[in-house]
Amino acid sequence: MKRVLLLLLAGVLSVGLAACGGGFAGYDPETTAQALLDSGAFEDALDTLDEESACMVYGLDPEQVEDCVVYASITAGAEEIAVLRMTDEDAAKAALEALKGRVEDQIAALKDYQPEEVGKLDGAILDRQGTTVLLAVPASHDLAQAALDALR
């Protein structure tokens, strides 16, 4: 009887640990993007890019993108959301580097054109979880980060 109780206790602890974050499977593109939009962290007018256009902007191979949701500013500003699910971790690592490059390019482009936007890029959120990759360039870093934390 004691042995059965110990096994049950071990099972409950395992499930609890998984629920506490060890089981985060990465960013679901649709859910994550919507959570960021709903967070109030973005001030600019954003609209969606289709997958082909997103791959062109970030320099990604469309064959390595399983799913993606991308929003960019329609006023040529800095704010942006990109959540990508790649085919494997190597592709995800390469995509993260591409997103870092996008931030650098935007800083270079906007420092003369809309200098007030550069601060947003300085607070850009870049992350990789497994095969998923995230870029968020919000007006409010804190609000965006809180929305992301809530997904974990």
């Binding site: 609209d47 256009s53 062109m56 329609i74 006023t75 040529a76 482009a109 003369d112 054109y113 809309q114």
Partner: protein, 318 residues
């Protein structure tokens, strides 16, 4: 003499004449036969060799009479009437004093050999219109004054200025140019026009096979510009100043003017409020409207080429 005796003598003479002609008839006959033979032998040689004493290379005078009977020429067979080759229909030359007319809508693959050069508006076209297959040399804030300096075009991982890239990269069949909104605060229209003209000349030289489309400026929305604190010079009076320059540039440089302004403005000649958020850039739907206009207003490459006379004038030194 009695008839009998006379008849006898005459008959005797006649009989002798028939049987044996007298000797004085033979000689002329022989002479005549000899003359005929001589003529037959000598006649073919007449006129074939120069006369003695004729200088070398100088033809002998023609014989007074033809030395042979010319073979009658065969009656010419009437030649068949040649089938007239179809006259090629001359390609009409495009009239560069007019903007591109509306034509049948092209398919998206029309842009597979197209290049777009422009500023943030063109970048919006790239991102939101749904255009596929084209290349873009565009950048936020790009101006006509930076075509040879700002490195905005990437080829094989290296960035070049627009003009450098046009010389190094692929040859395009269509090149769309949309610049000017960032130059509204540059209050020297003549320098703007001259710089644009020089750029168009260089583009044509670097991309001789391309139809060059020059897009005029879509207007702005004054209310949205004010609300978004756009610079004071971002207004439709300045847009109109430049839009007065573009038709002249198009005609002089023999490039195709695209009247984007008419396509993207309302009845009052302004950018509709619902088409923009900040007064300058477009909404996604309006970028699609822009692309639809481009797909409806194209010029045939042969008509474009037929209208080119500037090269000849340039060669003549004018």
């Amino acid at each position: 003499m009695s008839p009998s005796v006379y008849d006898s003598v005459r008959n005797d003479r006649h009989s002798r004449h028939r049987k044996q002609p007298p000797r004085r008839w033979k000689l002329p006959l022989l002479l005549a036969a000899g003359a005929v033979c001589l003529c037959l032998i000598v006649a073919p040689t007449l006129g074939k060799s120069p006369a003695p004493g004729t200088p070398a290379g100088q033809a002998a005078p023609p014989p007074a009479t033809p030395d042979f009977v010319p073979t009658p020429e065969p009656t010419p067979t009437p030649a068949p009437t040649p089938t007239p080759e179809p006259t090629p229909t001359p390609v009409p030359a495009f009239d560069f004093s007019q903007s591109a007319p509306e034509r049948e809508t092209v398919e998206m693959d029309y842009f597979a050999d197209a290049l777009f050069i422009g500023d943030s508006r063109t970048d919006g076209l790239r991102l939101y219109s749904g255009v596929k297959g084209a290349d873009f040399y565009c950048y936020k804030g790009l101006t006509i004054f930076e075509m040879n300096s700002r490195k905005v075009a990437e080829i094989d991982g290296t960035k070049y200025s627009v003009l450098d890239a046009l010389g190094r990269g692929r040859q395009y069949a269509k090149i769309y140019i949309s610049l000017g909104i960032n130059e509204l605060g540059y209050f020297d229209d003549q320098v703007f026009a001259d710089t644009f003209a020089a750029f168009l000349t260089q583009v044509k030289a670097l991309q001789p096979g391309a139809v060059i489309y020059l897009e005029n400026l879509a207007p702005v929305n004054p209310g949205k510009c004010k609300a978004n604190r756009q610079p004071y010079y971002v207004n439709n009076d300045r847009v109109a100043d430049y839009n007065a320059i573009f038709p002249r540039l198009a005609e002089e440089q023999q490039v195709v003017l695209l009247d984007v302004a008419a396509a993207l403005s309302d009845a009052d000649g302004v950018l509709p409020a619902e088409a923009t958020v900040d007064g300058v850039h477009f909404t996604k739907d309006w970028y699609k409207t822009w692309l639809a206009y481009l797909m409806d207003h194209t010029v045939d490459a042969e008509e474009y080429a037929a209208g080119q006379t500037g090269a000849a004038e340039g060669e003549s030194g004018s």
